[in-house]
Symmetry: C2
Subunit: 337 residues, 2 copies
DNA sequence: TTGTAGGCGTTATCAC
DNA sequence: GTGATAACGCCTACAA
């Protein structure tokens, strides 16, 4: 089969049009709304597309139509596997409808996030899903001015940019703390992460719970540790040095909890007899370690699905969707507490 | 349906130009090559940009200039934290030069990958980094016809699309197997993953090593298990049922190895005395479990860095870079073997 | 150093 | 159902 190629290499719609002996508009329609084109013509067009190896230019399409089929997602980190479920939830909605997801990383730093948001807006994405709820003023201004549908995900912002789909970090942490108290633990230590706004909310929830059960808030009972498994080790060392009579450790992150468990193992501390352990977020790993770790299961997949749906509803002007959705959480009690 | 639509729509370069009392070209230049514009004018332009909240339209820019500042990355999965280092390596090169990374997922399925590649090409990305080396014929044809710089990453393909930056899965697996043999292990079992081309190469390397030390290849000594921690559990069960005298287990993936270690723990099998364990890929977790797991350290960060550099070199026509780079690997011996 | 003209590849719009 | 024409917002090329 003869493959003709323009001098500059790229094949355009007009080349397809010439080959199929139709106008450019017919090619455009055959590609975008096939049912609106006579079958004979449509087939001629699609054949020409195949023969020439034509690839639709979405830049030009978006520029002209003023809409894009790309949705942007901004994650604090790609290192953290808790987000993979959210990504899957989003993709499952977008893919069948011809939209595409593009992911970028913000490092949980509002400056970085601003850069990334600016880049997405410059690309004129059709919508934006942000995990962080802590944005620079400039970022917020840009987002609002752009009229781009936005969903925030990681928590309930005090002042939402637009739509929100989340669970409450504070409520979840409070519930877990009350759960531990109900199991009889008296001196619970909370291990959080510095410079992580969601971990900070979790710490507030922890304190809410202590207040509710009438326990005096002791600063010693909350500590900020590093990210990663090492943070769990730090938490255990902290307990040994500062709260030796602690009977439970509630970690703001899953990896932390595993790190802590491994450190207990190394020291020969029995879990949960010497120290109970509970975790935020229910990674697969939580049920594979021994003892399996009690944790909060969060609706990560559903958050992705609903976020994508709300964006699409807005883009396709189907409805004026509810702007804030609380998807709750669930406590999974296991052997570690 | 009454949708709130801004009276004036979006702000364009011409609006900025009017406000700053210059031509559109001066605005364009002030944004793209500031040094080529008189300081006074430049400041007037940048001021107007601020005041109007103008956001550069990269769609129009790319369409007109026929170049894009977006680089696409296709990963088999976003669930796997081994890729986060590569992402960081790429970002570290791209960001300072004004390029942006967009990530998409292929599920290690050539069909899915083809879709994702088509989407990236339709967006006319400036370059593409593919972790998989196993593409559909259509995908390869599209890539080659597009003239887009491409780097493949996950292994050395038999027939590269374009550039390659990787280590050899086969060579690495062979080296680790020889290492275990040198330590005195006589009956090594290999646990791989079904439907993962890189794991298949690793199995070949395993067999290469056995052949080299003159050990008869026994089909029983290789098994395919599921992904995730559960796969490690399966591997141990397999050994108990089929190769009870095995003295070492070499896992094609890090998560597998941890799963296996945890299962040994549960069964009371001493590691490495009853069974040694070694892993492909050196996740943080490997040195935190006890015993720490012997593993292959792969140049994930460097792979990202070099890949991005090669793409940029090609885009900016700096050089005609070497097309295949082998970054090697390293064996990290720990207590588990 | 700055400006003018025209084109990048597509779609919206309005005729036919 | 199909086609002609004029945008979409920017940049290349050239002129001043």
């Amino acid at each position: 089969m003869p493959v003709s190629k323009k001098a500059n290499g790229t094949i355009r719609m007009r080349d397809v049009a010439e080959r199929a002996q139709v106008s450019r508009m017919t090619v455009s329609r055959a590609l975008n709304s096939p049912e609106s084109v006579n079958e004979t013509l449509r087939n001629r067009v699609l054949e020409a597309v195949q023969e020439l190896g034509y690839v639709h230019n979405h830049l030009a399409r978006s520029l002209s139509s003023r809409r894009s089929n790309v949705i942007g997602l901004v994650l604090p980190s790609l290192e953290n596997s808790i987000f993979s479920q959210t990504v899957k939830g989003i993709s499952d909605v977008l893919r069948p409808l011809g939209y595409h997801l593009m992911v970028a990383e913000s490092s949980d730093d509002p400056e970085d996030e601003e850069q990334v948001i600016a880049a997405f807006l410059a690309q004129r994405v059709g919508g934006l899903i942000l995990h962080s709820t802590n944005h620079s003023p400039t970022a917020v201004r840009m987002l609002k001015a752009s009229d781009t549908p936005v969903v925030e995900n990681g928590d309930f912002p005090v002042d939402p940019v637009d739509m929100v789909v989340s669970y409450s970090n504070r409520a979840a942490a409070k519930a877990m703390t009350l759960h531990l108290a109900r199991l009889g633990y008296k001196r619970i230590v909370f291990a959080g992460l510095a410079a992580n706004p969601r971990a900070a909310e979790r710490q507030r929830g922890f304190q809410d719970a202590l207040a509710e059960i009438g326990q005096k808030s002791d600063r010693k009972h909350a500590v900020a540790v590093s990210r990663g498994f090492g943070g769990g080790t730090e938490a255990i060392s902290y307990i040994e040095a500062n709260v030796p009579d602690a009977d439970a450790l509630f970690c703001a992150g899953d990896v932390l909890a595993v790190g802590a468990l491994l450190e207990c193992d190394r020291r020969g501390w029995a879990v949960p007899d010497r120290l109970a352990i509970a975790s935020f977020d229910d990674l697969d790993l939580m049920r594979h370690v021994s003892p399996a770790i009690t944790s909060l299961r969060l609706p990560r997949y559903e958050i992705g699905r609903r976020s994508a749906q709300m964006i699409l509803d807005r883009i396709e002007e189907r409805t004026m969707p509810v702007t804030t959705i609380d998807l709750g959480f669930e406590i999974v009690q296991r052997a570690s507490s």
